[in-house]
């Protein structure tokens, strides 16, 4: 019985491969952006995290085997403003001394449209972990792919902006995270 099964499994492995292994993608960091849009005294400003590490394993036909794991170096926050950037790492905001890394990981994917998907995910900023729905588009073009997403968060859900800053009057609660990753198919070992 075992002798009969083994070749059959091998054959299955060869033909069924796309159905249960997903592609590993490498991020082209120079052409990718992990940004955000926030508001201050009623006006929008943009920022980004310069250093992050995204592990993207994804295939539209192998969602069960797909996953995103992202580590963000919170201290790399850059809003192109020395005044703002000197405040964001402080204990009242990101507290990078105690919480240097923000994490994002997917728990499962659902297809929504042709190139649209939604990932049930976990996001950790500071010491707060919350489940978020992460809607995104994933478009494959040959050897490259593009992952784009907009995710609206409330900064106070994660304790970003404490004490007097917790009120929305001066710095708005809503923060739109804007993800735009350019991906290349990882070379197989």
């Amino acid at each position: 019985m075992r002798r009969l099964c083994s070749p059959a499994i091998l054959v299955l492995l060869c033909f069924a491969q796309p159905a249960w292994t997903a592609t590993t993608w490498q991020v082209d960091y120079a052409k990718s952006r992990l940004g955000f849009i926030a508001t201050q005294t009623g006006s929008e400003f943009e920022g980004r995290f310069r250093k992050f590490d995204a592990r993207v394993v994804f295939a539209p036909d192998a969602l069960d085997a797909s996953s995103f794991n992202v580590l963000v170096d919170v201290a790399s926050v850059d809003t192109n403003s020395a005044d703002r950037d000197s405040n964001l790492p402080t204990p009242e905001w990101f507290d990078v001394e105690r919480f240097p890394t923000a994490r994002f990981e997917t728990l499962g994917f659902t297809p929504v449209g042709e190139t649209r998907y939604e990932a049930k995910s976990r996001l950790t900023i500071r010491d707060v972990t919350r489940e978020v729905r992460f809607p995104f588009t994933f478009t494959v073009e040959g050897e490259t792919a593009r992952l784009q997403a907009k995710l609206t968060l409330s900064r106070t859900d994660y304790g970003v902006g404490q004490g007097e800053w917790a009120a929305a009057d001066t710095v708005g609660h809503e923060v739109i995270v804007v993800v735009d990753l350019l991906l290349k198919r990882a070379e197989l070992p």
Partner: protein, 191 residues
Amino acid sequence: MQLRNTTERWGAGAKCLHWTLALAIFVMMALGWIMTAWPKSPAKFEMYFVHKSLGIVILALMVLRLCWRLLNPTPRLPKTLKPYERVLAHGTHALLYLLLLAMPVSGWVINSAANFPLKVFGLFNLPPLVGPDKAVQGQAEVVHLWLFWIVGGLLVLHIGAALKHHFVLRDEVLARMLPDQRSQRDIPEME
């Protein structure tokens, strides 16, 4: 009171601009001083927000004021003034006009270089004058502070001179700028 100036009197338009700006400038100078010393907090942000918004209003009013001045006759100075006093009066006024334009512009440059948004009283966005640049921000801050002291010095001269006209020389120079010109002093012969 008529709206326009005559060669003897300031009209309502000029008076209104003068006193609105006087009030705004004193609020700005006090606010500017307090907010920079204030500890980092939302209140500090709000003070900066009001300061920046009011600064843009002052800039607009100054432009309007210059136009109004050019389109109106200017009441003449008393004939009793000595030539150097005349030069001092015109010089102080010209410099005040110039620096009260430069002051808000330098503040606008600071805000632009700091890459802070500028939505005047939350109503409309103003574009940045320069791109984000820490060095430019530092230079503009130095200019803004120097302008503060120079404008402060000029205001001491301006107010001191107005009081001297009123209490020492006892002419109409201050009275004719007052909102309600009740004082009906004999106007010394104007040139």
